[in-house]
């Protein structure tokens, strides 16, 4: 589905990611993890065709990404950005219908198929009730779900999410990932999501890719790579990984950065108090 070969990514003189090689097959659910500035967004920008590679190739469905016409690319690949700022008061339904753009004929009228797809996407993201409201008046979380509905309306084979659920509450986050999981399992939708929430990633992603210092440091099945050693190495933070007895997924527990330092500080304070 996606093949990346000897890929170097960066902006002007700054190299962000170097020598990437990986392959994502149809129906995989991949989490892209890593500390701030490790290049998660850069990688997604490149995979969506927004950022041209400095070197190397990105191949989507055996076609070079750069050679795919825009509309054709958008039929295969949809992107949910971190946040969306819309200034024109389009109704939420109009926004979702924009997701049908790559499928519509240039001067063709709106078909029932387009409307059905748009409404179904809105139903999946529980935004149908917003369809007449304007995008400028709904809340940030609602807006984000409308944008996810728009991406689903593109009816893509690959969905890229860049911190797409960061602004949502726990319940909405889980709802979105349940939809992704459902589409992944029933339709073979390939999902790649860059995220910060380790436990959300461990809960839904089958495969994790850890980026650090311009490289992929670890790439493998979640149950094998979601280990305290790897997490500690990637995030430079002591962590414990526990397997939940109920649903049999790992989750990470963060430990205080330096318990010793806190104690030493306390001791110093009591000493000062004693002296004065």
């Amino acid at each position: 589905m996606i093949r990346v070969e000897a890929l170097d990514l960066g902006y002007e003189d700054r190299l962000v990611l170097a020598g990437l090689n990986f392959q994502v097959n149809r129906g995989e659910f991949v989490g892209i993890l890593g500390p701030n500035g490790s290049g998660k967004s850069t990688l997604l920008h490149a995979l969506s065709g927004l950022l041209k590679p400095l070197h190397g190739h990105i191949v989507i469905k055996s076609e070079a990404l750069g050679g795919l016409p825009s509309r054709l690319r958008a039929q295969i690949l949809a992107v949910v950005p971190q946040s969306t700022d819309v200034r024109f008061p389009f109704s939420c339904l109009e926004i979702v219908l924009m997701g049908r753009y790559p499928h519509r004929r240039r001067l063709g009228t709106l078909t029932d198929a387009d409307l059905v797809q748009a409404l179904q996407s809105m139903r999946r993201t529980t935004t149908v009730h917003l369809k007449e409201r304007t995008i400028t008046e709904v809340s940030g979380g609602e807006c984000q779900r409308v944008v996810i509905a728009r991406a689903l309306a593109q009816d893509p084979e690959i969905l890229l999410l860049d911190e797409a659920t960061s602004s949502l509450d726990v319940r909405k986050k889980l709802e979105i990932f349940e939809i992704l999981k459902y589409l992944n399992e029933t339709r073979g939708l390939t999902v790649l999501c860059a995220m910060h929430d380790l436990n959300l990633a461990a809960l839904y992603c089958e495969r994790l890719m850890f980026l650090k210092e311009g490289k992929i440091v670890v790439d493998g099945p979640t149950d094998q790579v979601f280990t305290p050693e790897i997490l500690a190495q990637v995030y430079e933070t002591p962590m414990e990984v526990v397997w939940h007895p109920g649903h049999q997924r790992p989750y990470a527990v963060m430990l205080p950065l330096s318990p010793g330092a806190v104690k030493a500080e306390e001791a110093a304070e009591t000493r000062e108090a004693a002296l004065s």
Binding site: G49, R73, V86, F90, E132, R150
Partner: protein, 368 residues
């Protein structure tokens, strides 16, 4: 349990679809009705505007002249009346309508692709660039017409695109076009070019009033030949706008999302900029620089018709035509001395306060 497994979701689905479908049809119908009513208003306005002027002509005479042009001979109309009605008045009314439509649609396009509520052919310096292009050609002695086409609009087009390029380069900061600097750059370029136009015209020993008429825009002494100059530019510009109206909607979401949704952003934006420059160049080459039409009309129509660009473009074209036809009538008759005002003065006098109102009114603030 049996009850809850009834196909309720499917029922919802059908209801939602029918509702969305009928809503869409309702909106389309409302748009069509509005467009038809406004077009009828436009025709009526053209007839009324033809009847207004220093020489009093009756409606019967206008009808007679019109029928005569259609090849039906009725009561004889004397030569002078015929010239006044057909060659002087009606041609001017038609020209002002077409220029209004061109400027208003150019405004819609500029506001849409530059994501800037203050963008219009005038504020971003494109109009003045076009005027400069024409002024240079006139000074160089290039003029006349060739098969009904004049080189002047071409000069205007080059001037428009040059000014546009200069403004975009000036307002670009680290690869991005900043909204505030865009208008500032537009004002700088436009002021500079205005000064150059004044200089050129002074060197050409034209009177000051001619310069004012050029910089403020006027339809004084324009006729059918100018309609001919404008038409190809108007047609090409409107064609590009109509072709890309859906992309204009998506471009309103910004460059990245437009890319993700499958819009070939650079190509589409370039085509639209060319389209808007064609419209501006055509308008300016026949009438000089007329401000505020391209700024106010899109805002006004957006408040009434919503942000969807297909409707916005069509209704703005008709509204722009209506506004400029009547502005020109005012320019012709406002001064009791029988002198004409530059029509740009009228549009600025009407548009300035109105735009102030738009900026302040809450409803339009929600638009941006």
């Amino acid at each position: 349990m049996k009850v809850s497994s009834l196909p309720v979701p499917d029922l919802d689905r059908a209801v939602d679809l029918a509702e969305a479908r009928s809503r869409h049809q309702r909106e389309t119908r409302r748009f069509a009705v509005a467009l038809i009513i406004m077009s009828l208003g436009l025709i009526l306005s053209a007839i009324l505007a033809t009847g207004i002027g220093r020489m009093d002509v009756g409606w019967g005479t206008i009808a007679a002249v019109a029928l005569q042009k259609l090849g039906i001979h009725t009561a004889l109309v004397d030569r002078t009346t015929d010239v006044v009605i057909w060659d002087i008045r009606l041609s001017r009314v038609v020209l002002s309508g077409l220029v209004g439509a061109a400027l208003a649609t150019a405004g819609v396009i500029f506001q849409g692709i530059l994501l800037n509520p203050l963008a219009d052919p005038f504020t971003i310096g494109v109009s003045t660039g076009a005027a400069f292009g024409v002024a240079v050609l006139v000074m160089a002695g290039v003029g006349g017409s060739f098969l009904g086409l004049s080189p002047l609009p071409l000069g205007a087009l080059l001037g428009a695109m040059g000014a546009m390029a200069a403004v975009l380069v000036l307002s670009r900061e680290s690869g991005r076009i900043r909204k505030e600097t865009l208008i500032l750059a537009g004002i700088v370029v436009s002021t500079f070019l205005s000064a150059l136009i004044s200089l050129i015209k002074s060197l050409d020993e034209e009177s000051l009033s001619a310069i004012v008429f050029w910089i403020m825009g006027s339809f004084s002494g324009r006729g059918w030949i100018h309609v001919g100059f404008l038409l190809p530019y108007l047609a090409a510009g409107l064609f590009l706008a109509a072709l890309y109206h859906r992309e204009l909607d998506i471009l309103a979401l910004g460059e990245e999302q437009s890319h993700h949704l499958g819009v070939a952003v650079s190509k589409v934006r370039l085509h639209l900029l060319v389209g808007a420059s064609l419209l501006t160049a055509g308008a300016v080459s026949v009438s000089g620089v007329i401000g505020f039409v391209g700024l106010v009309v899109p805002h006004l129509v957006r408040v009434l018709a919503g942000p969807s660009h297909g409707r916005l473009l069509a209704l703005s074209a008709v509204t722009g035509a209506l506004i400029l036809i009547w502005s020109d009538v005012l320019a012709r008759v406002l001064l009791s001395s029988g002198q004409e005002l530059p029509v740009g003065v009228v549009t600025a006098l009407l548009g300035g306060p109105f735009f102030f109102y738009l900026l302040k009114s809450r409803r339009s603030r929600g638009m941006w």
